[in-house]
Symmetry: C2
């Protein structure tokens, strides 16, 4: 059945108003049926050769959440040390909402199952792309449920993998903070804080990459 | 402004009915304003540290499209040779719609701009994940416009990069066939043809990867 122009416009508003959130309402919850709908949206994402390489580990243990928080803080400091004169500005930014978010889900790339279909030449890339598509589905689903989501990538996958006892070959790729938020940023937080602006350049070229394009 | 339950249900229908399409209506077109909306949805996707690493190259040159088609056919044969006793079954499957689709967009990961924010530990992975999120936005946008999209990954990125004259460090990651379709598959094509079924396993674990989980 076709989608209507009204449904189309609603989807485009969803895309435009999705944000990478780092501020959450402390003490809030996500109802189990809502969490289930988010995970179903992730499961319905495409995966190359139907390998379905994405798993989520839901953190319900408070001590474990605190360990993950401490690790992200340490990684944030390590990142700050690379920032040179922007170090102080960087440390002003919130980069995670791990303690406050109602739910913390770690997205893990499963060990390679040997799927060749569609990934003979790009095996690692296509597995990871499948995981990212699942997260983007989940992200939009959270927004349409009026929940925030933040993809935290300030961590060492080896350390987080050890904490979550993932098997050899599996790699954590995202810590997803999910839950109610006080309000959604009117524009991306990095833009709002003046850290960086969206690029003003063409997104699409015809037939070849122009010789002078970045 | 909050999304309503009606909007939410419409979005979940969109997620459920999005398909990886390989059959397109020959001779059809995508209106310029529709293509523009699809690209805007891709641009509004998240990107780590706002690096926005995704570019699209739109193939309007018929000879170039034919060269890309020939390359994909050769790669399909190379994949077939790895399939052992499933070789013939594999060759029965359609893996692309390059000649028939109204539009062919090649998604390219731009050369690394050196962004450290959110990718000190996972630089390649987070750039590629950003590209995949942009494609997933575009994919859902196509479906809500009642257009099909197929992500073709049967190619050598070096060969396609040379054909499109991408600069050093840039890597084509997807050939996206986009356009009107006769109809949408009722379920994923690989499932419909009996190539592979969706896995019947939990998607989400609590606190740790279970010792016996795949």
């Amino acid at each position: 059945m076709d989608f209507t122009p009204t449904e189309r416009d609603s989807f485009y508003r969803l895309v435009a108003e999705r944000r990478d959130m780092r501020h959450f309402t402390p003490g809030a919850q996500v109802a189990p049926e809502v969490l289930q709908r988010l995970l179903t949206a992730a499961r319905q994402a495409p995966s190359v050769g139907m390998m379905e390489p994405t798993r989520f580990i839901r953190i319900t243990n408070a001590a474990l959440r605190e360990q993950l928080y401490a690790h992200v803080q340490a990684e944030r400091q390590r990142t700050a040390e690379t920032m040179g004169e922007r170090r102080e500005a960087f440390l002003q930014l919130r980069v995670e909402g791990i303690r406050e978010a109602a739910e913390l889900l770690v997205a893990v790339l499963a060990p390679d199952d040997g799927t060749v279909f569609g990934r003979r030449t790009l095996p690692q890339e296509m597995a990871l792309a499948s995981l990212a598509c699942a997260i983007q589905n989940l992200w939009l689903a959270a927004r349409v449920e009026n929940l925030g989501l933040g993809w935290v990538s300030f961590f060492d996958p080896q350390v987080v993998g050890d904490l979550l006892r993932v098997p050899a070959g599996a790699r954590p790729m995202a810590m997803l903070c999910v839950g109610p938020v006080p309000d959604f940023y009117s524009k991306p937080m990095l833009e709002k804080t003046g850290w960086r602006q969206r690029a003003d350049r063409p997104l699409c070229y015809d037939n070849a990459w122009p010789a002078d394009a970045p």
